[in-house]
């Protein structure tokens, strides 16, 4: 355990970060599963939430020996993350009182889900993000503008990730994604346009000062910027977009508008992230690989969450968080994707992510 916790060292340096990723990718998922489950269900130092649920599981979680056996826990009840104290999910092995941030996900309709991130969880995420930056060609020591949701949304933590782990100088503006969703739900599309304009004005105000190399934002906002402010886009060295809805047509539009700049992509939410595995020149697919082993993803049948679909087939995204301080098995995301496999990656990835649609898919419905 001592070695694993090295990433919490605040003085960690770049070679250590690279070594951490290599080490994680070499992890045996079954061994890692046992380690996390044992820590979570330790009678003395486990998670109060999970220990409270243990008696009702119908099996002894300490008997779990393999990753595949995590389906025994069933789909994770997301309502618990809306009502329970996020602290209860964290094993008592983490000293109380807990010091750190509670992050939200969802909340565009109804109450958001909330989870507590320990410092090493933030660092895990940050190390993976930095790994993505490097892989995608974002140079260290550059100036960024972060134009994403901030506040309770973990994506906003990217300011820290860029500044502390990639030696960046970061400007930031805030985007209230819940407000946008609310406007859409209420049919106030003119107000959506006004809000987009409001955001673009703030972005261009920063960019007009000069010296900003990279922009971190959402695909929707960058598309609006590409359309309305093409000169500002062409002046960037690159953009990094995070969101569920981006396709290869948008990606190629972005690259063309960047005029030699680079475009990085990631998919995820507060529970876990996945980095883009690359988009070929002729490819019609955008694949992602999760931050293994703390985050794993599967694509499962829309009608049977426990059944993983064949490679290339589309289904619902099932995410499992296997962090030492946060165990969330079988989160059924409101996204669908194609199952993606990569011989060089120790777990499944997802491709072509978009919101889940549960409608007729039988060929007989064609006519």
């Amino acid at each position: 355990m001592t070695e694993v916790l090295r990433e919490t060292d605040p003085d960690i340096v770049v070679p250590d970060l690279d070594a951490l990723v290599s080490k994680w990718l070499d992890v045996d998922i079954d061994q890692w599963t046992r380690q996390v489950v044992r820590r979570t269900f330790d009678p003395d130092s486990g998670s109060p939430y999970w220990l409270g649920r243990a008696a009702g599981l119908g099996f002894d979680p300490l008997d779990i020996t393999r990753y595949e056996e995590l389906t025994a826990f069933g789909p994770f009840p997301m309502a618990d993350l809306r009502t329970r104290n996020p602290e209860d999910l964290v094993p008592r092995a983490v000293p109380r009182p807990l010091a750190g941030r509670v992050w939200d996900t969802g909340g565009t309709t109804g109450r958001p889900c909330r989870v507590f991130y320990t410092p090493d969880m933030l660092r895990h995420r940050g190390v993976w993000r930095r790994w993505s930056f490097v892989r995608e060609g974002f140079a260290p020591g550059r100036t960024w503008l972060q134009a994403t949701p901030t506040g309770p949304h973990l994506i906003g933590h990217g300011v820290w990730e860029v500044a502390d782990l990639h030696a960046g100088q970061v400007y930031a503006i805030d985007m209230d994604s819940r407000w946008v969703k609310r406007l859409i739900r209420e049919g106030r599309l003119a107000d959506v346009e006004r809000y987009t304009t409001h955001l673009l004005e703030q972005i261009t105000d920063v960019l007009d000062r000069g010296g900003v190399d990279y922009l971190n934002t959402t695909p929707a906002l960058f598309e609006a910027m590409r359309r309305r402010c093409p000169e500002a886009v062409a002046g960037l060295g690159g953009v990094r977009v995070s969101g569920t809805q981006i396709n290869t047509a948008m990606y190629r539009d972005f690259l063309a508008a960047l005029d030699g700049g680079i475009c990085g992509i990631s998919y995820g939410n507060t529970f876990g992230n996945a980095a883009c595995a690359g988009v070929g020149p002729e490819s019609r697919s955008i694949p992602y690989l999760p931050n293994y082993p703390q985050v794993t993803m599967a694509v499962v049948s829309k009608g049977d969450w426990s059944s993983v679909v064949a490679p290339g087939e589309t289904g619902q995204v099932r995410l499992t968080v296997l962090h030492e301080n946060l165990f969330l098995p079988n989160i059924l995301e409101r996204d669908q994707a194609a199952r993606y496999t990569d011989d060089d990656w120790p777990c499944d990835g997802v491709a072509d992510v978009r919101p889940l649609q549960m409608t007729n898919s039988a060929p007989e419905g064609l006519y």
Partner: protein, 319 residues
Amino acid sequence: MSLGYLFGGGVGNEPHGIELYETSPLMRRLYEQISGWTGLTPEQILRDELPEGQERRQSVGSIREAALAMAVHDLLADAGLRPAVIGGLSLGAMTASALAGALDRQELFAMLTRAGSVPDPGPDDVAQGMALAFVPAGGADAARPWEGVAGVHPAGDFGPTVDGSQRIHMLAGHQAALEELAAAVPPGSIVPLPGRTIAVHSPLRAPYRDFMAPYIASMPFTAPSVPLLSCLERGAMKTEDDVRSMFLRNATEPISLVHLYEGMRDCGVRLGLVMGPSIPEGLLDFPFPVVHVARPEHIELAVSTVYELGLDFSGTQGR
């Protein structure tokens, strides 16, 4: 950078859109209006058992499908969305024509009602049917085991499947010939469609075409006010004669979804919305993302997707 609306074809036996109807006063008002035009009650339009008699059943089923597609269109309009280009398959092409301003809605439903008067086949007529054919994807050389088979006609092309492995065609013809062909090819490659007893989009549908031709000839078509794509050939229908020709030929000529989606792609469509439950989700290889709008929650999903893909709301409104 635009939004395309796709309307599927076919007439199913199962009612759809009930949740939309029950949650939407706008849809209920539309069904009352259609009730006034057709003489059917809103419940008959929505979910009652379809009537007996092949053509009467087909007529009421067509009204049901067109009403739902039109309702979805109106709900999306109420949410602020308008298509930049529009097109449909078969019945969907006719519904799309009405929504593109090529004919009055009432005229469309009057025509569908009139179709219920087409004489049913006699007891000695050969039973008809439909089938789907799944063939390996490929170019012009791809296998088409129905070619040259007596009593079997190509009726539609749905294009490649999403994994690129197969291409889906629709066949129409004599039921016995279709079943014989299905038995002669690898299992699952030709699948007769249960309950489909009308060989639409084939020469066998000539009696329907001939019966309806005078009626269609007298219908007051106008040039579409929204770009309207044909499912019978590649391209847009630009004049009232183009639309009338499609209405006349639809019953006996093969349809192509590929014509529609490639035409939309060429028009710069970046998101397709499928009206109602037609065209199954996740099966076909559309050249742009597609959202299926069949349930109340899909309306918000459609609008959200327009936003997420960065389509210009101002360009989708106010047409």
